[in-house]
């Protein structure tokens, strides 16, 4: 007979939970937990907006002709959809939201290293989002989230494009501030007794993410400033009619924007590494390998950007270098996937919503990863570049990956953040609808791309109509799937079952304080009683005794 470990004790166990008054979420609060929730709620609002834009795009694509909106507005719809989802949903949610809420709690710190900087970083995203949404009244940007010149310089929507650039500059600044804050916090504010290899893997992921964001984001900012000059004051950095080079913009843009994919997915890898062990009651398999693989993805991630430009007229030797670097990213990513699967193997899987979403993440992210390897191969990429195959690939990575991971994290940490449990039944309904909707929407897009349908088109060859109808039906299911979650989250926040301090019997430090945590997180000093993933240690001792 074996027993589960008792929850880690700390001096603040049993302390009165923090009751944050509602208006504090609308203030310039410097509490990392308030800022984390501000990020999560705000970004989720943008997720709903981005989702509405995506639904409009899919309904337009239900027929081969552009009969719902005119082609110019259609271009604005997918441009704003991409921009909102990347810059105002996934990046703020995973780094700003989960990162801010969890990192100090996980390393036993009272707050982030620079609390005011933290608040500034959050409050920069609000004007960025409002500006971007406001641009719908003056004609929003319509040149894709990549905004390639010369189209973005010659666009009819000058004002919208300028607003778009300003908005990206604001979120980029926010991202840089947040990255500095995370690096300093993780490096210098770990509690006594916690070395780098005994901190939770989410912190490793946040470290890698922050390094990447810090190195890459300024390059994007540079590209945006130069693009702004070309657009507004007629310089010719990227404008070929004045001797500029549009391909240089692509290099600058992708130097940030490919690492941005890892900024969006690395924290989610961290979330998955935190969710799987407590819900399968096993230690994470290969802690060090997972930690190192995050850093390896960070390093390799800086040298793969030109795989977005295999058809852009880059020299052949460059294509070969970037092809090899891109394919190599599959190795550390594979290490993570195998480690998660090995963690599940032989566990006692509690198939509740957090683990369902985590397993859904692995199974769908796998598809995105494998199609990523296909795209890494230059010849394969050249055929499917800028087609629906690519759209399918990055939605499998960013929806099947990031969004599933975010949901896994929300179901896992909701009790800690709000002091209430989410309803499990509606969580499962939410999972099933999301899973079906996702595969129905994005799975068939692989076929569309391979068969010859380019992306970013309002009108397409009628031969692709039947598959597009399937995708549109899937997208509507996906849109509907958010309803049970939103209702569940709002209802449970106010009326849900009271959550204990440690409902999952987990071992990381955030579960040693009250739910929600008190100001400054612990009454006395937090105590490190076990490693973050020492599940089953008593079982191990029993087994060793039995062998002896």
């Amino acid at each position: 007979m074996t027993q589960t470990l008792t929850p880690t004790q700390s001096s603040s166990a049993g302390a009165e939970p923090q009751k944050t008054p509602w208006w504090e979420f609308f203030t310039f609060s410097v509490d990392h937990k308030v800022i984390g929730i501000q990020y999560l709620v705000t970004s989720f609002m943008f997720y709903l907006i981005g989702g509405a834009l995506a639904s409009a795009v899919r309904v337009e694509l239900a027929t081969p002709d552009s009969d719902l909106v005119d082609p110019a507005f259609y271009n604005s719809l997918f441009t704003m959809h991409g921009t909102v989802m990347i810059f105002l949903w996934i990046v703020p949610a995973v780094t700003g939201g989960f990162g801010n809420y969890l990192v100090p709690l996980m390393i036993g710190a009272r707050d982030m290293a620079f609390p005011k900087l933290n608040a500034i970083a959050f409050w920069l995203t609000i004007p960025a989002g409002l500006l971007l949404m406001g641009s719908f009244f003056v004609g929003p940007a319509s040149t894709g989230w990549t905004a390639y010149p010369p189209l973005s310089i010659l666009t009819d929507e000058h004002v919208g494009q300028a607003i778009w650039i300003l908005s990206i500059l604001l979120v980029g600044t926010s991202s840089i501030l947040a990255a500095v804050n995370f690096i300093v916090t993780i490096w210098s504010m770990r509690m006594k007794g916690m070395d780098l290899f005994s901190m939770p893997l989410f912190c490793w992921a946040m470290m890698a993410t922050s390094v990447l964001a810090l190195l890459a984001t300024p390059v994007l900012a540079g590209a945006m400033v130069l693009l702004g000059f070309d657009l507004l004051i007629g310089t010719n950095f990227f404008n070929p009619t004045g001797g500029g080079d549009p391909v240089v913009y692509q290099h600058l843009f992708w130097f940030y924007s490919h690492p941005a994919v890892y900024v969006m997915i690395l924290p989610v890898f961290g979330i998955i590494s935190e969710v799987i062990p407590p819900h399968s009651r096993k230690p994470i398999f290969g802690y060090k390998a997972i930690a190192y693989s995050s850093m390896m993805i960070c390093a390799l991630g800086l040298f793969v950007w030109a795989h977005h430009m295999f058809t852009s007229g880059t020299p052949d030797w460059l294509r070969v270098f970037f092809m090899v670097a891109t394919l190599l990213v599959a190795v550390p990513t594979g290490i993570k996937v195998f480690s998660w699967v090995a963690t599940l193997w032989g566990g006692k899987l509690r198939l509740d919503s957090p683990l369902l979403f985590a397993m859904g993440f692995i199974s769908t992210f796998l598809i995105g990863g494998l199609s990523g390897v296909m795209l890494g191969s230059a010849p394969v990429d050249i055929h499917v570049h800028d087609t629906y195959f690519v759209v399918a690939h990055f939605h499998y990575v960013l929806f099947g990956g990031s969004v599933f991971g975010i949901y896994a994290g929300l179901y896992h940490w909701f009790p800690k953040m709000t002091g209430r449990m989410l309803n499990e039944f509606w969580g499962k309904i939410h999972f099933v609808l999301t899973f079906i909707g996702m595969h129905l929407t994005f799975g068939p897009m692989h076929i569309l791309g391979l068969q010859g349908m380019p992306r970013r088109v309002a009108q397409y060859d009628p031969q692709f109509a039947p598959i597009n109808v399937i995708c549109t039906v899937g997208a509507l299911i996906l849109a509907f799937s958010t309803v049970p979650f939103v209702i569940n989250a709002v209802y449970s926040w106010f009326k849900g079952e009271q959550a204990p301090d440690n409902p999952w019997n987990a071992l990381t430090l955030e579960w040693t304080t009250s739910s929600p945590p008190i100001p400054h997180n612990w009454v006395g000093d937090p105590v490190l009683a076990t490693g973050p993933y020492d599940y089953g240690e008593e079982y191990k001792e029993d087994r060793q005794e039995a062998i002896a």
């Binding site: 074996t2 027993q3 589960t4 552009s66 082609p71 894709g144 390639y148 189209l151 009619t241 001797g243 500029g244 080079d245 549009p246 399968s280 009651r281 096993k282 230690p283 398999f285 390998a289 058809t311 007229g313 880059t314 020299p315 052949d316 030797w317 070969v320 092809m323 599959a330 190795v331 290490i335 996937v337 699967v341 193997w345 032989g346 566990g347 006692k348 899987l349 198939l351 397993m359 199974s363 494998l370 199609s371 296909m374 191969s377 230059a378 010849p379 394969v380 055929h383 570049h385 800028d386 076929i447 010859g452 380019p454 970013r456 020492d534 240690e537 008593e538 079982y539 191990k540 087994r543």
Partner: protein, 328 residues
């Protein structure tokens, strides 16, 4: 005995996964017809990588499904699982095996890539770094071209090809080769214009089967990308510099030419047709075009500066010309 049974099961399952993956790689039916030599090379690579991906997919998804059924928590069981933290042998294996596989994929891809695109001498930066020469000649042409094969600097056989007989590499632009049909392509919002000679400009691309075709591409306004899905080739067309694309059509028929780079409002409508003709039909068509051009030089839409036209005028002009130059 029990161990043997387990081992046999694992071997059988892995064998089945490999067999299923190979079968899927060969029978996926995901790609449209391969209408050119490059497409045949491409399909071999694509199907191989797809088979490898299918193998990994089946293994990981299989383990996940098995775990859900086998390892789900039973009612009343509140115990933890075993405290297994790592297994170095296993971890080395699952790092080393994918590393070897992706490196092999990289080498194979590079091989196919060079066969499809042609190698570029590093000094090729002088060509704007965009020289995509394909010198994929069949045996007959290969013997005709003589010296090219014997020159180690400009030729290389490929391992990758499913028809690796006579796949040749050229490190320099073979523009002097009389066997190459050179066509100038002009891309503009939202039309393609193909210039065969100074006189002939058409909105529909005609190429003779079996000849190497070389497209010299220019963009008038913004970025475009020339793509024929049945040829598996794509190249951005960039204002301010010339880009190239070479291919050898093999299957007579009509195929779509698609713009793959977002180029403005009517980007989705920037489509035309590529007709792969028999040599006789091609000669006949060229003659017809010459007659049309000599009778009515104003018919060439491209003769008017695009900056002076509205989008509607472009599209109207294209539609009119499509009707005029079409074979149908």
């Amino acid at each position: 005995m029990k161990v043997n049974n387990k081992l046999i099961s694992i071997v059988v399952i892995i064998g089945l996964i490999i067999a299923a993956s190979i079968w899927y790689g060969r029978n996926n039916g995901l790609l449209p017809v391969a209408a050119g030599d490059e497409a045949t090379l491409y399909d071999g690579l694509f199907n191989t990588i797809l088979a490898i991906a299918a193998g990994f997919f089946l293994i990981v998804e299989g383990v996940l499904l098995y775990s859900i059924i086998k390892f789900r928590k039973r009612k009343g069981d509140e115990a933890d699982g075993p405290a297994i933290h790592e297994n170095l042998t296993l971890e080395i294996a699952w790092t080393a095996i994918p590393t070897v596989i992706v490196m092999w994929v990289a080498i194979y891809s590079f091989d196919v890539y060079t066969a499809m695109q042609g190698t570029q001498d590093l000094s090729g930066m002088a060509h704007g770094g965009m020289h995509n020469a394909v010198a994929h000649v069949d045996h007959a042409a290969h013997h005709e071209s003589g010296g090219m094969h014997s020159n180690p600097m400009t030729s290389k056989a490929t391992l990758a090809s499913s028809n690796n007989n006579g796949v040749m590499m050229a490190g320099v632009i073979p523009s002097e080769d009389s066997d190459v049909v050179a066509i100038n392509v002009s891309a503009m919002q939202f039309a393609w214009v193909f210039n065969y000679t100074d006189e002939i400009a058409t909105a529909e691309l005609h190429v003779p089967v079996g000849k190497k075709i070389r497209l010299n591409m220019n963009a008038v306004d913004v970025l475009h990308a020339f793509w024929v899905p049945q040829l598996r080739i794509k190249q951005d067309v960039i204002p301010g510099r010339e880009t190239y694309l070479e291919f050898t059509p093999r299957v007579v028929g009509e195929y779509p030419v698609v713009c793959a780079e977002l180029c403005g409002s009517y980007h989705g409508g920037m489509r035309t047709t590529m007709v792969i003709d028999t040599p006789e039909d091609y000669a006949k068509w060229l003659k017809e075009q010459q007659e049309i051009a000599s009778n009515d030089p104003e018919a060439i839409v491209a003769s008017r500066p695009p900056s002076q036209m509205s989008e509607q005028e472009y599209l109207a002009g294209k539609v009119a010309q499509m009707g005029m130059t079409s074979k149908k």
